[in-house]
Symmetry: C2
Subunit: 319 residues, 2 copies
């Protein structure tokens, strides 16, 4: 028996076939190539059909499917909101996939939820019942497991920690992103550096080598390597915000692990010791010593592993 | 069949006998009278014995017991940490109570957890599966239910939201209380008013009628009624912090209800419209419209109702 995990991203589809122990026995990446709406649904169903009907898995055909989606999986309706896929405001993914899969269970969850499930199954949070995946990429979100179960909330939008309020007073800039995401996401880092560059006319460092409005978080990381003063300033502030947000998650959840992932962690893992020191100042003083704060082991594969774990959990529920 | 709910506070024991529908059929309050350590345990066991062996409940004897404790209930060991009861650092309450109760199940949880369970059973969060009790008294804490289950964390100290980081930069004053509790708990309100009174030599309002270091949050509420400028200033800042903290709970948990209770809510319920307006600025914009923010219906009885609900849940598990 095999499990199929699918991670739908904003630009590509990652698929992995796992055995029950979580070993990858086949994997494929397919570009979305600008597909939108129903074309994306069709791409998924066609690939599922090809894999479930394939005889390449011999005596271990695919018996359960998990799908990670880049947005919100509405558990009551089986529909998906995925802001980066045009036409996916309330896309009926579950019903569409189930047409072709008949007796094979299909489970869908958000990439945040899948990322922490992946780490629990095969990554840094193996065996944990209380663990959090803090994803810092273009935006910020968290996948949260409490007592072994994904935290969904009343309407499936829990973990929206990019909106965490961390710094008074409120400024209008927070309206579109949330305070934490405004200051400390990949896009936030770039935006704040751009703002400083517009203001600091006297600065003549390496970041001047590019049009200000094209500066990205990658450029900031490169500049930081060269002791650039603006990059240093931006990351010092980020470290404070990351530390405060982690402290809040620790005080609220008393978790065993917090896993840092997403595109920014990545290069920001060099700051983990400083982030821990910052979190230590703010957090509940017993809880902060009971948690381990670590970089993701699975990186960009966390969600596809988590999708595999969703598939496995569905088998166990069925048995 | 009846249920016994016991709420151990820092100064008194509240006991209520419930029927299965949650109607109180008997209630008693007993002062702790300065008892400490084992004396408190004995007071509890003696009262349990008297009630369970009493024939006053006729054909409905007590068949399950829930106990709310003012601190941390360590679920793995059955011991209790209660900072306001001398000698209760790791008190073996469960084993002590079970000696005399034989076949009657005994369940212990924190007052925070019991408060939200009480509201879910008989208060403002009736029937909710995702709800939070924000208790603002001398300190600040939260009882949190997700998917119908109390959030415990890895070591039973989840919900320590008095430690929520809400305002940079870190100052040493936060070390003993946490940022949120420092600014916006009952003791915090008094402390901040005292600090302002020491500094504002020119102020000659009603708060000057008392020794500065004896000013309490009650005095502040009274002064606020009289449009006192210091009280007004203190509560304006509190409203910001309460709003930010509630926003964070909304963005993280996507709950159906947040119930405000504890001694400060109480008189601070007059600020709920302003607190909601503040939370609206910061929170995830969809979640904040899916939550209802309300004052506790049960007030200081929330925990004893929750203890009754613990007792009921234990019966259901047993069946």
């Amino acid at each position: 028996m095999s499990l199929l995990g699918i991670d739908l991203g904003g630009t590509k589809l990652a698929m992995a076939v796992f055995n029950l122990e979580g070993i990858v026995i086949d994997r494929q990446y397919i570009s979305l190539d600008g597909r939108k709406g129903r074309e994306v649904g069709t791409l998924i169903t066609n690939n599922i059909e090809a894999l479930t009907e394939s005889d390449q898995f011999g005596n271990d055909p695919i018996r359960s499917i998990g799908i990670s989606v880049p947005g919100i999986s509405r558990s009551k309706t089986g529909t998906v909101w995925a802001p980066n896929i045009p036409g996916w405001d309330d896309y009926p993914l579950l019903s569409e996939v189930q047409v072709g899969t008949e007796n094979i269970p299909v489970t869908i969850d958000s990439d945040r939820a899948c990322s922490i499930l992946g780490e629990v199954w095969q990554g840094k949070a193996k065996g944990c019942k209380d663990a959090i995946f803090l994803a810092v990429g273009t935006g910020i979100g968290a996948g949260i497991i409490t007592n072994g179960i994904v935290l969904r909330g009343a309407h499936d939008i829990s973990g929206a920690i990019g909106w965490m309020a961390l710094s008074k007073p409120f400024v209008d800039d927070y309206t579109n992103y949330g305070c934490f995401e405004y200051h400390a996401s990949g896009n936030g880092i770039a935006r704040i550096a751009q703002k400083i560059l517009h203001e600091e006319k006297s600065y003549s460092g390496s970041l001047r080598g590019k049009a200000i409005d094209e500066i990205t978080s990658h450029d900031l990381f490169s500049a930081y390597e060269m002791y650039d003063p603006i990059a240093t300033q931006v990351f010092q502030v980020c470290i404070e915000y990351w530390g405060m947000a982690i402290a809040n998650l620790v005080s609220i959840f008393n978790p065993e692990k917090i896993i840092l992932g997403g595109g920014v962690f990545g290069p920001a893992i060099q700051f983990i010791p400083s982030i821990k020191a910052e979190a230590l100042k703010w957090a509940q003083p017993i809880s902060i010593h009971q948690v381990s704060i670590e970089a993701s082991a699975l990186g960009s594969d966390a969600a596809v592993y988590g999708a595999g774990h969703l598939a496995k959990q569905a088998m166990q529920t069925k048995d």
